[in-house]
Symmetry: D3
Subunit: 135 residues, 6 copies
């Protein structure tokens, strides 16, 4: 995951692509594709900064990173599409459904019951979609 010294800019993008695929799976691809006609540079920035720079850093494991993201998006309460992507991402990196629920419930303490409740219903939707897809 170290960029090659000869072509660092491309490596950063490439590193981001790999991190996005590992973490968000197909949901990440969909976001990038949806930006293609309106803001393709923003798709590149998403790959480069959040995924190429931040999620690729060695100082915190992906499990902790996804718990942090699920907690923050639950607390902020105004980014449901991204919360749903990271519920799946959390499952992808080994967090259990119950741990996601615990993280969201805890947010009632810091951001209020409505924020926690709306996140729990988003999780319910994601889990139901996953169950029907694999059903």
């Amino acid at each position: 995951m170290t960029p090659s010294t000869s072509n660092p800019e491309e490596s950063r993008l490439e590193r981001g692509r790999k991190a996005l695929a590992a973490i968000d799976g197909q949901a990440g691809d969909k976001v990038v594709a949806a930006l293609a006609d309106i803001a393709p540079d923003f798709a590149r920035y998403i790959l480069e900064f959040p995924f190429g720079d931040i999620y690729s850093r060695p100082g915190l494991d992906l499990r902790a990173r996804e718990i942090a993201t699920i907690a923050a998006l639950t607390a902020m309460g105004n980014a449901t599409p991204q919360l749903k992507v990271h519920i799946e991402a959390g499952l992808n990196v080994g967090i259990t459904r119950d741990e996601i629920i615990e993280t969201m419930m805890q947010m009632a303490v810091y951001a209020g019951f409505p924020a926690a409740l709306n996140a729990l219903f988003a999780a319910k939707d994601v889990f139901a979609d996953l169950d029907s897809a694999t059903g």
Copy 2:
């Protein structure tokens, strides 16, 4: 950490007191003391619900719980006193300084650079206080 069946209400408060002491240490005591003359019932609720109910649940380890809280308070950006308490709480439950910094940096992705920056400066303050106290 299971409440006794004969006196559940007291046990919930008692469980919260123990959890608060284990997690927040003296900082938690100060908050409870500061509420004594203005809203003593609210001090009790803090012990009972966040600590007696939520942090005492077995489904998520305290390390993950504190990363979630630090992430959320960083992202929300309007609760610096509580963020500082949980920076110390994170250290108390075994999160390293570097992991706290990583969690805050990641929040630039979800809540913007100012939120991350202000949290990093709060961490700098807390770390400096701890170093001077033990210096």
Copy 3:
């Protein structure tokens, strides 16, 4: 509304159930039911802390409590489902439609016109549903 001394934990839950039924009516039951398969403990916490502890306190009448909640949810602007529940709750405890509208309009001062506007449209929806149900 005082919990029995012999079984305080059950009483707190029971007190919350009664408060929820009195305030939110069927809307509260639906939320509790929707949590049953994903986070049943969170349904219990909703009954116990907001309703069993807070709304059951004698220091503020339910009319003032619902105005406070409608104001806050209008200002926060990211909890429309809960705002709709509390528009109905406000009517249940004797606040008039016009007073709900006044409360929301006032929030333009503190949280901006979009927050007030989106709350007014939520109220319009709730009032229309009530009118068609009783039509």
Copy 4:
């Protein structure tokens, strides 16, 4: 409180001045004075819209209006100076200290414990200032 038909614009400003004086007392004057050299038109807008238009409306009593404002500013958590002004305003229009505390405690449910806690400490400051002034 009805504007004269011959000079409605002046009356709106005048109505706002009277409402501000009745509600905020000297704290409102200080805000208007502090804007004099940087944004005097904004001082006029504050008198005209929030106070001349909104608070002067007959559909909701001032007691309910101040509970709504205290609730919203507590929940938003990023307007401590204005919250302090409205804690005093609440007392001015007949809300008791205990009712202000109850309103803030209730906000823990909707906006989290840190928001409620920071508002309670703002109230503690205001009450202490009032007590020392009248001491």
Copy 5:
């Protein structure tokens, strides 16, 4: 755009109507119409304060005002209907689609990637509606 001195209150409303028509076009009319049965006074306030007072001020051109509004609504992230109105308003006052996209992308820095992303998708919707209307 200066109100007549003989009837300033009516002029303020009239000035707001003209500003709303020039800036928001039909979208503004729809909001006013939707408020007619629930909060007609609020429709008047929208015309008077934001449009009659603020947008009619000479100190900042409408292009800069709409960039400011698009930036703020993107960053706040909880007012999508109003953001869509102001995407169209921005185009009405001469901002290009690319400049709107640039403004939104920049908000990733201050309010995080989800806020920017959700605004970009709102812009995508508005642009598609405009293209299909003129197709």
Copy 6:
């Protein structure tokens, strides 16, 4: 402002340094310096992404970019240190004091009067510091 093809990663950082110096002046340097001992990588990210990537893009002039940032930080209301930096940055790129005041006043419409008011007082502080420094 185009990165050299032979060493794009360094160029991005270098481009960010130049943009930061041009826009934020000494205030930007202070932020970078303050991060040196706690999160030096975050200082680099600030140079690279906001300044090297975003502010260096040709699609929107710096004047519009700073109005967007001042508007957003005013509306968000929880990033006063960064707002102050961008008040100075706005002046650096040619926005007048009156235009900054206009932008902030407009935010009363979208984020409420307290957010606008607190930003105006931040501007008053910055202007006074500048006047005393050049006095």
